[in-house]
């Protein structure tokens, strides 16, 4: 039985947003009615960046609000899209006169509500562009259906678009660089154990002692595949193999890598995966030029890990390296 530190589960999201803002009083501000978080000092004369989605993936998205990244993050209930009205208000708040890029993970509800908010914000003469993040190769099922899910590559899109906007790039250019990231970044995830909804006492699914969920999503949905449990090196291979066959990397290429904890994976575990990833890619002549290792896009307390890879070039490296100052990412 997994218990949660929670008051009334109904109040979880607004209370947690309040807690976040109280903990970062110089950086963040809360718009309580529509449940979005903005920078304390709104940016001027730049393209606005708004993102958001269901809660339970923290630090995504509110943890990435600040200089060099998002202007506004809007929060739905756990694993549920924010409403179109919330997204609309958040989009308006992100506008500083030069239009707004909406960064949206590819889930039906999120896409619907962000598209609608984008359309309606046109009533107020706000130009919007949507950047859809769909990096999860486990859901790459061809033409039909909702397409690949959006997962940890969202962090790269938010960072890179944030840097471009901060540099003064226009709406179309900020969207274009975001789409370039989304087109080239891919993610694969696995879970040893599911997360547990706040207020529930059972994880979202159970696994046998010798199986893992390969290609798991971040909403507690089961994966299409099961695989055998193995050691850290073996688990890394299970993630890396489909990524490499998807990404078409060659010797001498440089990548950005995210080794992402899905919730209750502890640092020692992530460091072992990072190590294995460095060795494997190194053997293939591929350099990890930049990396993040930690819990960035989570699924409550799911025990698992994802690997995201994106080929790096000079422009992406420069935008990645640009200063950022948010609760969850600062350099």
């Amino acid at each position: 039985m997994r218990r949660s530190i929670v008051n009334d589960p109904e109040d979880l999201v607004p209370e947690a947003l309040e807690g976040l803002v109280l903990s970062h009083p110089r950086l963040l501000e809360l718009e309580a009615e529509h449940r979005f978080i903005t920078r304390k000092e709104p940016a001027r004369d730049k393209v606005g960046l708004v993102s958001g989605g269901g809660s339970g993936h923290e630090p995504l998205h509110a943890g990435f609000v600040g200089t060099g990244m998002l202007d506004v993050a809007v929060a739905g209930a756990v694993f549920a899209s924010p409403t179109a009205l919330q997204v609309l208000a958040a989009t308006k708040a992100a506008d500083a006169g030069r239009g707004v890029v909406q960064i949206v993970k590819n889930y039906t509800g999120d896409v619907l509500n962000f598209r609608i908010a984008g359309e309606i914000s046109g009533d107020d003469a706000i130009d919007t562009e949507i950047v859809l993040v769909d990096d999860d190769i486990a859901t790459d099922s061809g033409e039909d259906g909702p397409g690949r899910r959006g997962t940890a590559a969202t962090v790269i899109v938010e960072k890179v678009c944030g840097a471009a906007a901060e540099e003064g790039a226009g709406l179309a250019d900020v969207a274009a660089i975001g789409r370039r990231v989304a087109t080239s970044a891919r993610t694969m995830s696995l879970a040893l154990a599911a997360g547990t909804h706040p207020g529930d006492d059972r994880p979202q699914f159970d696994l046998g002692d010798d199986e893992i969920e390969l290609g798991v999503g971040i909403h507690g949905e089961r994966a299409a595949k099961r695989a055998s449990f193995t050691d850290a090196n073996g688990l890394t291979d299970l993630l890396l193999e489909p990524l490499l066959s998807e990404l078409d990397l060659s010797r001498g290429d440089e990548v950005l890598a995210i080794v992402n904890g899905l919730g209750s994976t502890y640092p020692l575990e992530l460091q072992l995966v990072a190590r294995a990833l460095h060795h494997r890619l190194g053997d293939a002549g591929i350099e990890i030029g930049r990396s993040l290792v930690g819990p960035y896009v989570t699924s409550l307390d799911m025990h698992g890990v994802s690997i995201t890879l994106m080929p790096l070039d000079d422009e992406l490296r420069r935008l990645w390296d640009a200063p950022v100052r948010t609760p969850a990412l600062t350099w």
Partner: protein
Amino acid sequence: MTEQTSSPALPAGFGRAFVLTLREAFVGAADDLGDLDRRAGDGDFGTNVRTAMKHLDANLEADPPTSYREWLTALYMAWLGVGGTSGPLFGMFFRDLAKAGDEAGRSVPTAAQFGDALAAGQATVQRYGEAKIGDKTMIDSLDPAIAALRAALEADAETSAVEALFEAEDAAVAAATATAQTTARRGRASYVGDASRGVIDPGAAAMALVIGSARAGADGSGAVDLSWVA
């Protein structure tokens, strides 16, 4: 599109009467609509309807509407603050209804303009929801209602707006009831496959209540039949 001048007028105060009648109908049918979604869906549609109406009340209180467009705007904003698929889709549908009539939005639309707005709303729902007619969704009752409304208006230049809306209502209720014969291919109900057969689609039923409320708002009765929902 139908010429404005050649179409019968909807009564003054139609916006207010339509929205308040619909509010009554939605609140009255929420439990039954929720049950339908529970039997073939994920059960949240009743809550979604109730949440929308709670938002509507708040909007009416915060910023009392003074025109058709403002009444419908209060309604569409209310639905956009609701989750599920119905929230954004009904929101965008009512947003198109709010645009009915003249550019400035000061006057009440004609029956034909209202019909055009319903059609625009259907197109918007289909653009976002990607449903085809027959997929067991809200447009299954909307589409025949629009056809019936237009047919009535076109058949006889003397037809009143209320008479045309009665035709539309009858078509909508009949089509909504008939969704029990179909299998869902959109929305949560599509996950249960053939198990959705035998159950009326709650969104289609709700859409029929929209048409009925327009009629009841136009004829001043405020009376909409809910008995067939369930």
